[in-house]
Symmetry: C2
Subunit: 406 residues, 2 copies
């Protein structure tokens, strides 16, 4: 048994497919986002513009968030010191769960250390509690939902992406007496499209299924108070469990679910991924509290971001760049090959100081490798124009196709 | 299908077994730990003394840690804004991984959002990469290791707790050509005993197995530089993967592994729980960097804690309280019944302002419910005496057995 050889082969597979990942080493400049400093492969920090952050609204830089974290740091210290059950249940946690329940119009909410963990822990536990449960899962669901479903051991039926006819077909052929859970996302973050929430809830009503929606790319960003697509479409009350993150639009770190108190109590009491882990640092929780409260009452960040995204998409389309058909804030450019995608990203960083990460398998299916831009309210019109010019130059240099709009 | 009924039954099972968990709502007083404020069930915050925190050395309150977090907060902001691959790889992360690799004398290290995730992600990925791998697991391994092993789908052979003869028996009966991984902890946190690391490594050498040690209750606390039991016993170089947490003795939040760069690269490249999650907030990482560096050069905290633990164990023994046979900083009192354990904890909190959480199933096996005290360098001799007196009074009031030492 030669362990080294097996590990070497695993790494070699990534190199040979052109998808070995190199992490770009950066520090953001607080108060001047999207400006940042890049470390790796340069002599000293080099200034760059970040175009691929999920801190969509720059709330991670917001003065209220920074002030709240500083206050908590000085009031209670760095970490929580324990699990939620053993010393790690601070008053901040209790307050934030109440705030998140209110955001989604639910009776309760539960914090996790990340959005990944909230999906994994909730889905795996829920399907274990419901004997014989079958999970109906959108084929493009995030890796963390897939992990939770697989770890539950429950039977899974995958429906074609956003295809309610296919979903109904699968529901109709399933024993009516069996517990059912439909798991899907609101905004699919690599394509930027949106689920037909009401149509899915209609099916859930018809076939007596529970619903689980992942709103990680939507909370804070859609709906009058930032309650996500389910708030915007007035569908939150129809959904059993809404899952969200505190690490993207809210700008900090962590994940959560919101649901009725009965379900919250079950997950709280039975999910190993919730029970057996040190709770979120109170410093983070304090920052999120400020962020959620701010975005409940302020729509300026949401509007600024929507405008920036619409403008960038239009510039890309006008230039004939292969911008994908996103209906949200996500602006993906399809390249379709991992080596070429990485080369474009490398040129952008080295020659233009533009940081955008190449997106490859397993984050997206092979053959759909892409660049994914996330313009925010702090990306100026000048930045958008410079980015578009840079991409046109690189597309021409690499002899890629620029399809001018008809 | 009545979902509500199933959920209600799940909760009712907990109530009927006396193990429904009530989280105590607290805020620590920075600079005055173990003093804190308790919120739930009282009119306004009530002062308490925390006796069950895993912030073993009070590093979560250390001025260097607080200052480093404040600096990062003002330099780069609240969150990382992305996964390690997509915008979330800050210079702090790179520096901390280098510092942790050095702490354990390994070539590389990898950060995770928690210790739970580091165990789950690493064990499940490792066993998938090694075809046909069999995992040999100590029967008292933590829930997160059990999750990782189960999620790997690999065959598991459980050896009796710390029993190297049983482990050898299981290894000897296994096909020599099959990849093998021995997974165990250094300090078992609910009993306070320590694994025979060298004996296990001898078996790993003899049977060509990889070794994985969970040092979450030991890093920062044992060894001249806080490298854990494996450093204290000069065994780190014999172990394939050392796993640790940043949320206990280091006082903040997060988890990691340290190993040779080949293994780090494999886990970094293949583990969904690492890849698909927003990276640790740079504020946390900056705090941990300060904490790890401080504990590498200062032994005062370790010594203070060892003295406090030895003193408290002696006081408990002298009083005839049923202190368990711990060889570490953990001071568990065996009660053996969930209802009685909770009642003692409730009296301590309500009448004495002493906060210690009852430990029940599934954290420990049924019938071994206990109170678990974690005295630290900041718990004074007066606090220890008051705690012991309170316990004696409660033991007498509840007519429990006080076995005076012979």
């Amino acid at each position: 048994m030669n362990y080294e050889q097996i590990f070497d082969q695993a790494i070699e597979r990534l190199h040979s497919e052109g998808r070995y990942r190199v992490f770009i080493d950066i520090l953001r400049n607080k108060g001047a986002y999207p400006n940042a400093r890049c470390f790796a492969g340069h002599n000293g920090p080099k200034p760059i513009t970040v175009w691929c952050s999920n801190d969509y609204l720059a709330m991670g830089q917001h003065p209220k968030v920074i002030a709240a974290m500083e206050e908590a740091l000085h009031d209670v210290g760095a970490g929580s010191g324990g699990t939620r059950n053993i010393g790690g249940n601070t008053h901040y946690h209790v307050q934030l769960e109440s705030e998140l329940a209110d955001l989604h119009g639910k009776d309760g909410a539960l914090l996790f250390t990340s959005g990944y963990v909230s999906n994994d822990a909730t889905l795996s536990t829920l399907a274990k509690i419901l004997p014989g449960c079958i999970i109906f899962s959108d084929e493009l669901n995030h890796a963390s939902m897939i992990a939770g479903i697989r770890n539950s051991g429950a039977e899974k039926k995958v429906f074609r992406h956003n295809d309610v006819e296919h979903l109904e077909q699968l529901l109709a052929e399933t024993d009516p007496a069996v517990p059912k859970l439909i798991a899907f996302e609101s905004v699919y973050s690599m394509d930027g499209d949106v689920a037909p929430i009401h149509a899915i809830c209609d099916l859930a009503d018809k076939y007596n299924a529970l619903t689980y929606i992942d709103e990680v790319h939507a909370v804070g960003m859609y709906g009058p108070r930032g309650g996500g697509i389910s708030e915007r479409e007035d569908a939150a009350s129809r959904i059993t469990i809404i899952e969200g993150t505190l690490g993207k639009a809210f700008g900090v770190m962590g994940g959560y679910i919101a649901a009725d108190t009965r379900i919250i109590d079950v997950i709280r009491s039975y999910a190993p991924g919730f029970i057996f882990t040190t709770s979120l640092s109170p410093v983070l929780v304090a920052g999120v509290l400020a962020s959620v409260r701010h975005l409940k009452s302020s729509s300026a960040e949401r509007e600024g971001q929507q405008e920036a995204a619409a403008s960038l998409k239009q510039m890309f389309r006008d230039a004939g760049l292969p911008v994908m058909d996103s209906t949200t804030h996500i602006v993906p450019l399809m390249v379709g090959d991992p080596v070429r995608t990485k080369k474009i990203a490398d040129i952008l960083l080295a020659e233009y100081g533009v940081y955008v990460q190449p997106i490859n398998y397993p984050t997206v299916p092979r053959g759909t490798e892409r660049l994914r831009f996330t313009p925010g309210p702090a990306h100026t019109a000048d930045m958008r124009r410079e980015l578009t010019s840079a991409l046109i130059e690189i597309w021409q240099r690499m002899e890629l196709d620029l399809r001018k709009a008809a």
